[in-house]
């Protein structure tokens, strides 16, 4: 458990470092308060807020990623025991990966990897 305590200590140190930088900047910067500005749009005023429903055209790819990513749940424990479990475990895992990869190839042919 002491490992995670040290991680916690690291988190604290990191936040302290960031806080110190902000502190130094307050001392040194030409003004303490931030400048309120319009967003940079080549010099034009924005006609609407940028925060909007963004068209992420790669959403089919995101679905594909999720399917494959969940697989990592099995991959990590498997990595630890595969040497002991032997060839059977290797075959099982790579058949599974092969099935997933077949899915990727299918999605590729369906055009999920292109969006422009």
């Amino acid at each position: 458990m002491s490992g995670y305590l040290n991680i916690l200590a690291m988190l604290l140190v990191a936040l302290v470092v960031a806080g110190c930088l902000y502190g130094v900047a307050r001392l040194v910067a030409v003004a303490r308060d931030p400048l309120t500005s319009l967003p940079f749009q080549s010099g034009w005023e924005p006609s609407e807020h940028a925060l909007s429903r963004y068209h992420a055209r790669y959403y089919p790819l995101a679905m594909l990623f999720l399917a494959f990513d969940v697989e990592m749940l099995f991959m990590y424990p498997w990595a630890v025991i595969v040497a002991d479990a032997g060839i059977g475990a290797v075959v099982e895992m790579f058949v599974f990966l092969g099935v997933l990869m077949a899915g990727v190839v299918w999605a590729w042919r369906e055009g999920a990897l292109r969006w422009t």
């Binding site: 140190v13 960031a18 309120t36 924005p46 807020h49 940028a50 790669y58 990590y76």
Partner: protein
């Protein structure tokens, strides 16, 4: 606990932070030197860039944008540096490590997934079209680099039969993993460049969208983000040394020296690649990453699995 790996006390975190700071500044100095050379100026004149840039950004006023999502923006800005430090916590320096986690490899992986959210938050928080495009570009890129990166990470874990970083280093006593896992090593390095929004994988901060996620950042906010990028590169280089380059093993010098030397060498290559290659647009990357790189890494893993069950 892995043999030969000593977990330091909580104060060791300070040492690790200082070391990461030094390595990151060296990376920035190297980048400045290479840039100066390309521009036809004296190499040394560029090496001081991090000092001048640091001073410039500390002096510069911070900005906020009309109706910006300030909290989320700030989380993203500070987060990259924090995540880099949390990664370094599991990177051993010679025989010492800050946190000897039994799942150190997974920890590193978890932290690099955090970068997805953080970079996107930097793009989203500013309420600026260019930054927003940058943030979403990063997500598109992440969809392509993350899986190969994850699988590349598992290669050394399979070979060592452990997710503890110390065990992975110890397992390379006879032969460094880079020798028989070159594909995993290269893919991991590419992944490091990608999660650091750097060089060929820097489309999220592209020149074509006025700096993308960086477009609206000034002052210390910008400094933190730039520092975070160099810190991520440095942490990634350090982890590559532990995973693939035998950690601190090497003749004559103490092991911590070897860790640092190897880390700096890998880091120099990662920093230098920025000027050598054009930026890869995420939509160009997807096909290559999924249809070429991913199967290549899987084949690498298959090879590794066969070797370990023999």
């Amino acid at each position: 606990m892995a043999e030969g790996i000593i977990q330091v006390g909580p104060l060791g975190t300070v040492t690790a932070t200082v070391l990461l700071g030094i390595v990151a500044v060296l990376a920035a100095a190297f980048d400045g030197a290479v840039g100066a050379r390309l521009q036809g100026r004296r190499t040394l004149s560029g090496a001081a860039a991090p000092v001048w840039e640091g001073a410039r950004l500390l002096r510069q006023r911070r900005r906020t944008i009309v109706a910006a999502d300030s909290l989320l923006w700030r989380i993203g800005v500070v987060g990259l540096l924090v995540v880099a430090l949390l990664k370094v916590a599991v990177v051993p320096l010679g025989a010492w490590t800050v946190a000897d986690l039994s799942v150190g490899v997974v920890w590193f992986n978890a932290m690099d997934v955090m970068v997805w959210a953080l970079v996107w938050l930097v793009g989203w928080g500013a309420n600026s079209a260019h930054a927003l495009i940058g943030g979403y570009r990063f997500l598109a890129q992440a969809l392509s680099y993350e899986l190969p990166l994850m699988f590349a990470l598992t290669g050394p874990a399979i070979a060592a039969g452990s997710l503890r970083v110390g065990d992975v280093v110890a397992a390379q006593d006879e032969l460094w993993f880079v020798v028989w896992m070159p594909v995993a090593f290269l893919v991991f390095c590419a992944g490091v460049v990608a999660f650091s929004v750097w060089g060929p994988f820097g489309a999220a901060a592209g020149k074509d969208i006025a700096g993308g996620v960086l477009a609206e950042l000034s002052g210390v906010d910008r400094l933190l983000l730039l520092a975070g990028r160099y810190a991520l590169l440095s942490a990634g280089a350090g982890f590559a040394v532990a995973l693939f380059l035998g950690g601190g093993s090497g003749p004559f010098a103490p092991s911590w020296v070897w860790t640092l030397v190897k880390t700096l060498a890998v880091l120099a290559a990662l920093v230098g690649v920025r000027r050598l290659l054009p930026v890869v647009r995420p939509d160009r990357l997807a096909e290559v990453a999924w249809i070429v790189v991913l199967p290549a890494v899987l084949l690498q893993l298959l090879l590794v699995s066969f070797v370990v069950v023999q």
